[in-house]
């Protein structure tokens, strides 16, 4: 069964540095998402992406965050200047359509900011 893959599995970065998290969604899916989960807390929506543009973003997704689909297979999340509070598990997900469809999640990138 096709799956969403994320790299790296663990990223350690100094505060203030830029970080790029990478995802390969399922190939025939059209909607892409990033969520995050701070240790011990709930999974939180960050951003949804369709037709090469952001369709919705949360309050967490401020100017320090950006997403890109640089080619036909990759979907990336960039944090420009990381803060300590960005430490979390970041999950990428994809779905066939935006509504009424299951979302398929990767196993996440654990981001640790020092």
């Amino acid at each position: 069964e096709p799956e969403v893959t994320q790299t790296p599995s663990h990223q350690v970065t100094q505060m203030g540095q830029e970080v790029i998290l990478r995802c390969v969604p399922i190939s025939n899916h059209l909607y892409f998402y990033w969520y995050r989960q701070i240790l011990g807390q709930k999974v939180e929506f960050l951003v949804s992406f369709y037709n090469n543009e952001i369709s919705e973003k949360s309050e967490i997704f401020d100017d320090q965050f950006s997403v890109e689909r640089p080619d036909g297979s990759n979907f990336t999340l960039k944090i420009r200047s990381t803060k300590l509070e960005d430490s979390a598990m970041y999950f990428c997900a994809s779905s066939r359509s935006g509504e009424n469809q299951p979302q398929h999640f990767g196993d996440g990138t654990r981001l640790s900011i020092l």
Partner: protein
């Protein structure tokens, strides 16, 4: 704002029994609701989706109900097994079209042999 509440206390049951997990939502009426399973250090895995016009949905040993009057969904695992031990997440969509999911904090289920 939309609020999703699941039992925060862990649920411990004996193998073979039925586990029932509760999800309550307030301040809106979602057209559908999804349930996911999450194991430690892993991403959520989709289990079931139920729409507002469906009272009940089943898949193997899993059953979900959706009561739009009570604003509640119940998730049942029958004949539970130790392999069912995980955290179960309720996730209705957000207000806007586009598929955003709002997750509850999850209920941790532990099935003892």
């Amino acid at each position: 704002s939309q609020k999703i509440e699941q039992n925060s206390e862990a649920l411990n049951i004996q193998e073979g029994k039925t586990a029932t997990l509760t999800c309550n939502y307030t301040n809106y009426s979602p057209a559908y609701l999804q349930w996911y399973r999450q194991d430690p250090g892993r991403g959520p895995v989709f289990l079931l989706l139920i729409r507002e016009n469906e009272k009940e949905k089943r898949k193997e040993r899993l059953k979900v109900t959706f009561d739009t009057t009570l604003k509640q969904s119940l998730f049942h695992i029958t004949a539970s097994q130790p392999a069912d031990s995980a955290t179960y997440l309720c996730a209705p969509p957000g207000y806007n079209q586009g598929g955003k999911l709002i997750f509850g904090q999850g209920t941790e289920l532990s099935v003892k042999p």
